[in-house]
Symmetry: C2
Subunit: 146 residues, 2 copies
DNA sequence: TTCGATGCAAAGCGTTTGCATACTG
DNA sequence: CAGTATGCAAACGCTTTGCATCGAA
């Protein structure tokens, strides 16, 4: 999904395109990356030294409501955000020592017997599946940080 | 795992058995239940009106360090705690409308080709897999709360 | 010119910590 | 009796909100 397209979706939602908003969109580039609000804030401050963290949060929430981005939970208390999209669904490997994360192209829902959920009358809207452990660099010195 | 056994593990860890601590252990009963710190606090206040939430947190952390309980992340910002144990590994169905949660006896790791992780040199320590959606009571009126 | 967006400051929420006191072992 | 556990209050980190001002359309 191109940046231009994202801008169109914001406009259609009745939102204005401000420089700050444009810059947040640029941060995500063409997808595949996920950042915390703080990381996005730091990045944007290069161009707009006065942007406030509140503005970043407000815009991330707006974009999430429009379905433009998704929030990820990595168990460390802070959200990560990444571009949403049908083709981009994926899970993550997360290093609990250095924080590195990597995409995983395996979705466990494919293996879940759907009759099980039908029996329980449960309608799945979304799911989490993340693997926490030690990456190749950290697997030698296993000691969880923080 | 019985309550008595849990008390023994605390004692072996050099910890004292205080009434508050005993009561927290009782909360978990024989397992299969998960509560937030606040829920445990409310429950214990029935017997000890003066227990502080801090004490609950401190004890939950102690028990987590001893491997007695595990913390769960349900994407709503607060942790849930449940008894740990090799036989008790499971995942959850979580209703995003009423908050109900139910155990799921399906673990996606069984289906993940282990050679994939070996190639990536990633050592898995733990993983998340939770299904978020609408339970049988809420599936009629789908509207996320909060 | 209008109404949404911003920056600032303050508050919210779950959780943690410092300290003096209370109590287990 | 020694040293851990407690309650209280304050602080923490991430996120949200109120409000006056600014600026996109």
């Amino acid at each position: 999904m191109s940046s231009v397209c994202l801008v169109e979706r914001l406009k259609k939602g009745g939102y204005r395109i401000t420089p700050q908003r444009q810059e947040i969109i640029n941060c995500f580039g063409s997808g595949g990356k996920h950042y915390s609000a703080e990381e996005i804030h730091q990045e944007i401050k290069n161009k707009f030294p006065n942007v406030s963290l509140d503005t970043v949060y407000r815009n991330l929430n707006t974009m999430r409501e429009l379905g433009i981005i998704e929030a990820l939970n990595f168990e460390d208390g802070k959200c990560r955000y990444e571009l949403a999209g049908e083709n981009s669904h994926h899970h993550h490997l997360i290093c609990i020592r250095c924080g590195m994360s990597e995409e995983l192209d395996f979705c466990p829902l494919k293996f879940l017997d759907s009759s099980l959920l039908r029996d329980k009358k449960f309608t799945v809207e979304r799911h989490s599946f993340e693997l926490y452990g030690y990456c190749s660099s950290c697997t030698g010195s296993k000691r969880e940080v923080k």
